[in-house]
């Protein structure tokens, strides 16, 4: 099995590494910020990040340096950085590990980002369930503050950067960047209509950058080892660097594996994650979290980079790879994900709010062998009227499990409906909309 040099997980893979400030410093931690602060101009830091090709690790894959570049140059008031640690895409559990095992790596990344965009205040919006993660971060910030890395006049350069932890309270939608900002402002987490974008009107209507944990954690390494080094890893020019892929489901060794982008799903699943957990063959996999359309064994040789997965009809998303073995009921699987989206729809846009409840009702009917052939058309029609008609990308995400399973495993839907017809059971189910 080929081995790859870990970057983000390098420290925590050392035996006994606890992630304390002293240990982080011993492994070369906080050298990047020392090297940069007051010595390299913020514009040059942005240029390095742009040149490295780093793209957002949260799901959308937007180039990080370009995102920073959208901030108005001449704006005099405060600017903000928000770290998106609201990891809640089903199938994804990398940020939790990055936070709990090496919190200072994230903090140093935040300091670099704050310096580059000229932010004096930053918030880590962490999902409410990560109580331990929030405690670890708070302790790490306290230690970093005592050591002079966070706070006023860092290294005597007159630069002020403060970091606070803000806990969410259990809402998937708050991982959407504008919903995150609303939530951070103490409101319901409803996504905002864009434009204007957060780069100009973000937190408290001020220029704001929202970056994912893994994106920020890459920054110290890019600034230390250079843009060329980073751009040479992975699948250049468009998918550079490594990614921490989260493998879950029916594999022998589920978990987080950091590999360069561009290796194949076959290698990730069969070599890194040890293959299937039993002799049952692979039937389906989700390549990038619950929002990504399902793929089949025919797609195992697709490369794990943004473009290749998009070309295969899905998306690399948050890097959560979920594997399903032969015998998994695909209609049931799609219903499970649909129930998730129904529960998490924020209720702002009618197509998503109403549509998700209808989709769940129809899917439950089919799974309970009460469906009819016309239901399949209704499903497709509903999905087409949700995707692209909502304020945020949630609408596109919620239809992907149904549309992709209908595409690849339509016969399973048909079999369930035939069973219903054979038993003459077609009659309206009591409407079940309970979450």
């Amino acid at each position: 099995m080929p081995t790859y040099e870990p970057i983000l997980l390098k420290n925590m893979l050392q035996p006994g590494y606890t992630g304390s400030l002293a240990e982080y410093e011993r492994t070369g931690g906080y050298q990047a910020i020392r090297k940069v602060l007051g010595k390299v101009s913020p514009a040059d830091v942005t240029a390095v990040v742009m040149k490295s090709g780093l793209r957002g690790r949260g799901g959308a894959g937007f180039p990080t340096g370009v995102k920073w570049g959208f901030l108005p140059k001449d704006y005099q008031g405060p600017r903000y950085l928000c770290c998106n640690a609201d990891e809640s895409e089903p199938g994804t559990f990398k940020d939790r590990q990055l936070i709990e095992r090496d919190p200072h790596q994230l903090l140093e990344g935040m300091l670099l980002a704050c310096y580059a965009i000229g932010a004096a205040s930053s918030y880590i919006y962490i999902r409410g369930e990560f109580v331990l993660g929030a405690k670890i971060l708070e302790q790490a910030i306290k230690d970093a503050r005592a050591a002079g890395y966070v706070g006023k006049n860092i290294f005597g350069t007159n630069t002020t950067i403060d970091i606070w932890v803000h806990r969410g309270a259990g809402a998937y939608i708050c991982g959407e960047e504008t919903a995150l900002l609303e939530s951070l402002e103490g409101k319901r987490g409803l996504p905002r209509v864009k434009p204007p974008f957060p780069a100009t009107h973000g937190l408290y209507n001020k220029p704001t950058v929202v970056n994912n944990v893994e994106t920020l954690a890459n920054l110290p390494h890019i600034l230390t080892r250079g843009a060329e080094w980073f751009a040479s890893i992975g699948s250049p020019p468009k998918s550079t660097g490594t990614r921490v892929f989260c493998v879950s489901g029916h594999v022998a060794r589920p978990g987080n594996y950091e590999v360069p982008m561009g290796i194949t799903f076959r290698e990730l699943i069969y070599e890194q994650a040890g293959g299937m957990r039993s002799d049952k063959k692979l039937k389906a996999f989700i390549p990038g979290g619950a929002s990504a359309p399902f793929l089949t064994p025919d797609h195992l040789d697709v490369k794990l980079d943004f473009e290749s997965v998009a070309l295969a009809g899905s998306m690399l998303g948050s890097g959560g790879v979920t594997v399903m073995e032969e015998g998994t009921d695909m209609v049931w699987a799609a219903l499970r994900l649909m129930e998730f989206f129904y529960h998490e729809s924020c209720g702002k846009c009618s197509p998503c709010r109403e549509g998700s409840s209808w989709l769940v009702q129809i899917m439950r009917r089919i799974v309970n062998k009460r469906g009819q052939m016309a239901d399949l058309e209704t499903l497709t029609d509903l999905c087409k009227n949700i995707a692209g008609r909502t304020v945020c990308a949630f609408g596109d995400a919620e239809v992907s499990p149904i549309l992709s399973t209908l595409k690849h495993w339509r016969h399973e839907y048909v079999a369930l409906i035939h069973a219903a017809e054979a038993a003459n059971l077609i009659r309206p189910e009591p409407v079940g909309t309970k979450h």
Partner: protein, 178 residues
């Protein structure tokens, strides 16, 4: 009254934000920590502290699933049922808990010790089936583990089987003497 009992903490929270309303979620958490759930009186008081109307507090509080507006048991068992956990047996775990405690999802045991909730993804998909009990995660659940967790919770109020700081696959152990 929170303002009398937790003045320093409230001041500290308020100092982090340039706009007061941002302190709403942290203050609701504080209220929930003290009473086990968010009472109407607490919401009224928080509205006063942040210069908001009570409906503004209520509209926010009702949006977030982690804020309990009704009392819950001393131990809030929250089992993840999203697809990734369901693939590795979360429905079985819910069944075990139901059989052992005699409660269905959404119910509390008569002694007010345990409340069972079925929740969506808690970001521990590689180590499912899993559940969260109050602040702690319990992962890779088996029936044997579940029995131990419930017994320890009853006896000591916590359990040694809680997990984290999280890393999976598990890191290599430190060499003895290193």
């Amino acid at each position: 009254m929170l303002q009398e009992t937790h003045k320093a903490e409230i001041d500290d929270i308020l100092s982090r934000y340039p706009v007061k309303r941002s302190a709403l979620l942290p203050l609701l958490y504080l209220a929930q920590r003290e009473q086990g759930y968010v009472t109407e009186a607490a919401m009224q008081e928080i509205a006063g502290i942040l210069r908001l109307t009570p409906p503004q507090v209520y509209e926010t509080a009702t949006f977030y699933t982690m804020l309990n507006l009704k009392p819950v048991g001393k131990f809030h068992l929250q089992v993840c049922k999203s697809l990734m956990c369901a693939l590795v047996g979360s429905d079985t775990v819910i069944g075990w808990i139901g059989a052992k405690l005699g409660i269905k999802p959404g119910e509390t045991t008569p002694d007010k010790l345990f409340t069972l909730s079925v929740v969506e993804c808690l970001a521990a998909c590689g180590t499912g089936p899993m559940m969260q009990v109050n602040d702690d995660y319990y992962e890779r659940l088996t029936e044997e583990k579940l029995d131990r967790i419930l017994a320890e919770l009853r006896q000591t109020g916590t359990s040694s089987l809680k997990t984290g700081p999280f890393m999976w696959p598990e890191p290599a152990a430190a060499k003895a003497g290193a």
